[in-house]
């Protein structure tokens, strides 16, 4: 259930934020709304899932991104005729955060723009964003135990 809900939020964010790009500026607002919704969603599930459960959802939720990023980085691009599209698909998968990336300076590293590298970092960062409430829970518990 937690995983299904996380997928619904992410896929609907791809569509909504992709469409919001029609109104420049609105896409940035929706990207922030998306991050807030994911955080609140994870915060809700941390009450019923243990840390391993939260970690599993966080990883499986971004599985398409991990697979695409891995395929590109491991140069498995030549294994199918659709391999050319992997980088496009990874960018589309990252649509919810692209408005925020587009605010960054147009720096380049090894002739590639900064956002290209961020496309690969985006996926684990989103997993961590989902898992973060579980970390807070642990720390809060530890502090409570310490005060007792």
């Amino acid at each position: 259930m937690a995983l299904t809900r996380a997928y619904i939020i992410h896929i609907s964010a791809i569509i909504a934020i992709g469409l919001a790009m029609y109104f420049p500026g609105l896409d940035i607002v929706l990207a922030l709304v998306y991050l807030y919704l994911v955080y609140k969603e994870a915060g809700y599930w941390r009450q019923s899932l243990n840390r391993a459960g939260m970690a599993s959802v966080a990883l499986l939720w971004q599985a398409p991104g991990y697979l695409l990023g891995g395929a590109i980085l491991l140069t498995a691009e030549s294994i199918s005729q659709f391999s050319y599209y992997y980088i496009f698909m990874l960018e589309l998968w990252g649509t919810p955060l692209l408005p925020l990336f587009s605010l960054l300076p147009a720096w380049t590293l090894l002739d590639r723009p900064l956002y290209y590298y961020l496309l690969f970092m985006l996926v684990p960062c989103l997993s961590l964003h989902y898992y973060y409430p579980a970390l807070i829970k642990k720390k809060t518990k530890s502090r409570s135990a310490g005060s007792n």
């Binding site: 469409l19 790009m21 029609y22 809700y44 980088i87 960018e91 723009p113």
Partner: protein
């Protein structure tokens, strides 16, 4: 208490789908003129290709023949494509900026300067000349070069200065000079739109 929590959870799940639907309706209403365009719009072309099973940029092998890139002048447009491209005869576009270089848009390089030889692998190539004074074309080139290294997004809409694709940069560079290369007032600019513009002349074509 539980009921209110249930409602909050439902709302959290519905916010983005509902916003997406609302945006779809607003954008659809603002562009309803595209419904009356019988052909030429990106959506119409893509849907027609989708029915035939063509869904992307296409692929193929280069055709024989030397492309006269040396005849290009700054401000000219280069189009490349494959027979099975989903959004028209061409899948890619570049703006000639001089010295055998083009400003192009790629997902892994952003808006970037590339050699004209990047077009050698296409089976379809078309060189277009915009029918405008040289100083106007020079300003269009200058505009485009200012956007180098900006972010590429394949579905970038026409408005906005943060997200670009290979055709939007060309269209915007000329639009800034008062030349609208899009005849249909489309949501996106396809390479096909540039080829169909009344502002351009074909100076070379191969594989079409």
């Amino acid at each position: 208490m539980n009921r209110s929590k249930y409602n909050i959870n439902a709302v959290r799940l519905l916010i983005l789908p509902l916003l997406g639907l609302l945006l779809l309706l607003v954008i659809g209403a603002a562009n309803r003129h595209l419904l009356t365009v019988s052909s030429g719009s990106v959506i119409h072309t893509y849907m027609a290709s989708f029915v035939k099973g063509e869904i992307g940029t296409g692929y193929g092998k280069p055709t024989a023949g030397t492309v006269p890139f040396s005849h290009l002048e700054p401000g000219d447009i280069v189009l490349g494509g494959w027979p099975n491209t989903a959004y028209g005869r061409f899948s890619h576009a570049g703006l000639y900026v001089g010295d055998d270089r083009l400003l192009e848009g790629y997902v892994d390089y952003g808006l970037s300067i590339q050699a004209t030889s990047t077009y050698a692998h296409y089976s379809r190539i078309c060189l277009l000349r915009v029918n405008a004074p040289a100083e106007v074309k020079a300003k269009a080139v200058e505009y485009a070069l200012e956007k180098e290294k900006k972010m590429f997004y394949p579905l970038a809409f026409k408005d906005g200065d943060r997200l670009w694709n290979c055709t939007k940069i060309i269209w915007r560079a000329y639009a800034a000079q008062g030349i609208d290369l899009d005849e249909t007032g489309d949501l996106w600019i396809a390479p096909e739109s540039l080829a169909e513009s009344r502002w351009v002349s074909v100076i070379y074509a191969k594989g079409i």
